[in-house]
């Protein structure tokens, strides 16, 4: 711990007072120094109103240190202006756009400041009949443009031909070549962070579970961990932690298998597309076998898990997984041995290691570019400190690498799951439904990082004097990675966008909150 930052481990709560509050200039220098010189990743960078009215806004930064398994926290107080860090450190670009939008902070010097979610400000202004707030239309903003003979603009979405979430993509093209892609989201914004304020209450867990429905286990685990470190009486048993890990790996398997199938579908390679579509369902059904819900809603709760995995069920899932994993292997072998498929993936949509580092890419997309970031190993949580699937690596950063890393993670997670299920001998302890959570520590800040299947998911909670959420910040992995997709398309053929997009498969609702 230095005098400019406070260093904590993952899943720790500390009184907010202990986080050094720096003058704005020192705060900026500290962030730039840590991110640019010492390879910290920006896990969260957000604002909240000061404790008393008229105190301005507090800016809090959570920087992950992957080498030391820790997080550095620092904060500052500003009025309504902040000089942008983006020109010197591009990883802040989207965080600063968010700050400007959520708290109407003037981010001076930001190279491309525009709305990110088209959300109304977090603080309700006093009703002013003379100046009613303007209706915000998602997507209604400036875009990069390109002029000249033969250039053309292609706008895709927000309504897509496939059954996916809404998002708007603007391509600036010359013939088939894409010069720039801009991604405009926010169509799914529903005000999750604002609704979470004042919690936790009965709505909190269901809201967290649906931040991004395909990452329910990751998201609810992150929330449960926050509650557990803010209320130490909520101590989950080791087997509950292990069950969380099992569910998280099943979630990873279901999504990775589904993604690889979708990638095959996009290049019109039917066998793998069809097989994986079915196999994804098998993994979802295994999750349902544990908790009754295919997406694992209601499984993880503060203090442990709601459902018991009986040895008989563990045995059943073990045999089921054994069968399914053979089918998965077959389906993926077909695809990765088909020259026509490999030809479509190779060297498509590359993101270099440097670029990935600069923009703060996370998860499989970052690992595909050769970065070594996986919260399961860098900031172990739940069962991962004791036992975790083998690390998977890839390099190249192209669509093939993003497909390969998924395949390797499928192999590693399957192997680990089989080991764990084979060892599962007794019922785990379940946590009865707590009608009310125990009081959370007042005036504290807690950080919880988990490795969702898309990458690092960061939840930060700040409590007020009563122990209610004064601010609940969710940073979905998609928030880090959407710009990676935009970057991967530069100089690429526009017809390759669908496979680049699928190879990232980012969440719209997780980003839009």
């Amino acid at each position: 711990m230095t005098d400019t930052t406070l260093t904590i481990t993952n899943c720790t709560a500390i009184p907010l007072q202990r986080v050094p509050s720096l003058p704005v200039n020192t705060f900026r220098e500290t962030l730039l120094e840590l991110v640019n010189q010492q390879q910290r990743r920006v896990s969260a960078f957000f604002a909240m109103p000061g404790a008393d009215t008229g105190q301005g806004l507090e800016l809090i930064a959570v920087l992950a240190n992957d080498n030391d398994h820790t997080c550095d926290l620092t904060r500052t107080t500003i009025q309504d202006e902040f000089a942008s860090l983006t020109p010197e450190c591009p990883t802040f670009a989207w965080f600063e756009r968010e700050l400007a939008e959520q708290y109407s902070i003037a981010i001076t010097g930001h190279p491309w400041l525009k709305p990110i979610r088209f959300q109304p400000p977090m603080i309700d202004g006093a009703a002013d009949p003379a100046n009613p707030p303007k209706t915000i239309i998602a997507g209604d903003t400036d875009y990069f443009t390109m002029d000249g003979e033969g250039t053309h603009e292609v706008a895709v979405g927000p309504v897509h031909a496939s059954v996916i979430e809404p998002g708007h993509f603007r391509f600036q093209c010359l013939g088939e070549d894409v010069y720039s892609l801009e991604i405009s989201l926010g169509y799914q914004h529903r005000g999750v962070e604002k609704m979470l304020l004042g919690g936790p209450d009965r709505r909190t867990l269901p809201m967290i579970a649906t931040v991004s429905g395909d990452s329910t286990i990751a998201s609810t685990t992150a929330y449960a961990q926050l509650c557990e470190c803010l209320a130490p009486s909520l101590k989950p048993s080791p087997d509950a932690l292990l069950l969380r890990g099992i569910a998280a790996e099943l979630e990873r398997l279901a999504n990775h298998v589904g993604d690889l199938g979708a990638l095959a579908g996009d290049v019109a390679y039917l066998p793998t597309a069809s097989f994986c579509g079915r196999l994804r369902g098998e993994f979802l059904n295994m999750t349902a076998e544990i908790c009754g819900n295919r997406f694992g809603r209601n499984l993880v709760r503060p203090g442990g898990v709601k459902f018991a995995l009986t040895p008989a069920k563990a045995e059943k899932i073990f045999r089921w997984l054994d069968q399914v994993s053979k089918d998965v292997d077959n389906a993926l072998n077909l695809m990765f041995e088909a020259a026509t498929v490999l030809d479509r993936f190779e060297n498509i949509g590359p993101v270099s290691k440097t670029a990935a580092l600069d923009i703060g890419l996370v998860g499989p997309a970052a690992r595909a570019a050769g970065l070594d970031c996986d919260i399961r190993f860098s900031h172990p949580y739940a069962c991962y400190a004791d036992t975790a699937p083998a690390r998977s690596e890839a390099s190249g950063g192209d669509t093939l690498a993003r497909a390969l890393i998924r395949r390797r993670e499928i192999t590693a997670s399957t192997k680990w799951l089989k080991e764990q299920l084979a060892l599962w001998k007794k019922d785990n302890q379940t946590t009865p439904a707590a009608t009310a959570l125990p009081a959370l520590a007042p005036d504290s800040i807690a950080v919880s990082l988990v490795e969702a299947w898309r990458g690092e998911m960061c939840h930060v909670a700040v409590t007020d004097a009563q122990g209610a959420f004064r601010r609940y910040k969710i940073v979905d992995p998609s928030f880090h990675n959407w710009f990676g997709l935009a970057l991967s398309m530069r100089g690429e053929q526009i017809s390759h966008f669908p496979i680049c997009n699928k190879s990232f498969n980012l969440s719209y609702c997780g980003h839009d909150l």
Binding site: H152, E153, V154, A155, V156, A161, S162, G175, E176, A264, D266, V267, A268, Y269, L270, P271, A273, S274, F275, A338, T340, V341, D343, R344, I348, Q493, I494, S495, H496, F497, P498
Partner: protein, 312 residues
């Protein structure tokens, strides 16, 4: 050779009636290979009938060209069908040089669709048109090399004679040349009918579409005409390839007709298998592939010329 006109008319009527079935066979084959039940064999008929009974929405930003695309493309496919020698019977409409009319009727149909697509002003359709024209231009080379091969080996420019001229099957080089040329004709079939690996008729991804992107704005009967037109075109090309492989007269008329139709339907199974085991090519690979096809077709042509000199 006794030309059986009755047989020829049966072949033509079969083409009009059975063309959608060919697409049904392709889809069924694809479904079975990947373990799905798949749509009904007759689904293309249901789709076309459904569309023909619907109303039609046309964008108001277009001039009349949009409306011309579907009828022209259907009409050209129908006219082109008149020049094929079904079951090896000379078409009553045949004339010297009709091979060119045949090729450019298909070109005219495409041209009408491209104009209609450009008329919408949509960026997707603009991209689709540009790709369609680019690849069609490249596919024209192989197609004409194949037609040239047929013209030289039959010493005729009459499509019916070109496809029915009996070849000396005992000469190995002739057989090799025929197989090579028929293979290239099959490649042209896949390109012209937007099949995998050149295009993906099932895709929903506008950015990767070629032909499908051009017809995004059509609905109702317009789309029905386009679908039926594309079924006819597929039948037409399949018949063309089959006739190349089985030239000459043999057996009873009934047997010839049955073989003719079965052969064409078999090509649906072959297309289905190809589509199940290959991914789609990336765009940059298409020109290479088509130029390669042109080269192969020219080899077939050269073989024929060289063999022709030495034949008695």
């Amino acid at each position: 050779m006794n030309n059986n006109l009755c047989l020829w008319w049966t072949g033509l009527i079969a083409a009009f009636l059975l063309a959608p079935l060919l697409k049904g066979i392709i889809n069924k084959t694809k479904a079975i290979i990947v373990g799905r039940r798949g749509p009904k064999l007759l689904q293309p008929y249901y789709n076309i009938i459904k569309l023909l009974r619907k109303g039609c929405v046309r964008t108001t930003t277009s001039c009349g060209l949009l409306a011309w695309g579907p009828p022209v493309t259907l009409a050209t496919a129908m006219i082109a069908l008149l020049f094929l020698p079904y079951a090896n019977q000379i078409s009553p409409f045949a004339f010297t040089g009709d091979a060119f009319l045949f090729a450019y009727l298909l070109g005219l149909g495409r041209f009408a669709l491209v104009l209609g697509a450009m008329d919408t002003g949509s960026s997707f359709e603009g991209m689709g048109s540009s790709r369609e024209v680019q690849f069609a231009a490249l596919a024209e080379g192989p197609l004409f090399a194949v037609l040239g091969f047929l013209a030289i080996s039959s010493r005729s420019l009459n499509l019916s004679s070109m496809l029915t001229c009996p070849l000396p099957a005992q000469v190995p080089t002739v057989v090799a040349a025929v197989i090579l040329a028929a293979g290239i004709a099959f490649v042209v079939l896949l390109v012209e009918n937007c099949r995998v690996p050149f295009d993906d008729p099932e895709t929903h991804l506008e950015l990767t579409m070629i032909h499908e992107a051009m017809v995004l704005d059509y609905s109702g009967p317009d789309l029905g005409y386009i679908l039926y037109g594309s079924c006819l075109k597929l039948w037409l090309m399949a018949a063309f390839v089959w006739l190349m492989l089985i030239p000459g007269d043999f057996g009873s008329p009934g047997l010839m007709m049955v073989l003719h139709i079965l052969g064409i339907l078999l090509s649906g199974v072959i297309i289905g298998i190809i589509e199940s085991v290959t991914a789609r090519f990336r765009f940059l690979k298409l020109p290479q592939f088509l130029l390669g096809s042109l080269g192969a077709a020219l080899i077939a042509l050269a073989l024929t010329i060289l063999t022709g000199r030495n034949l008695p």
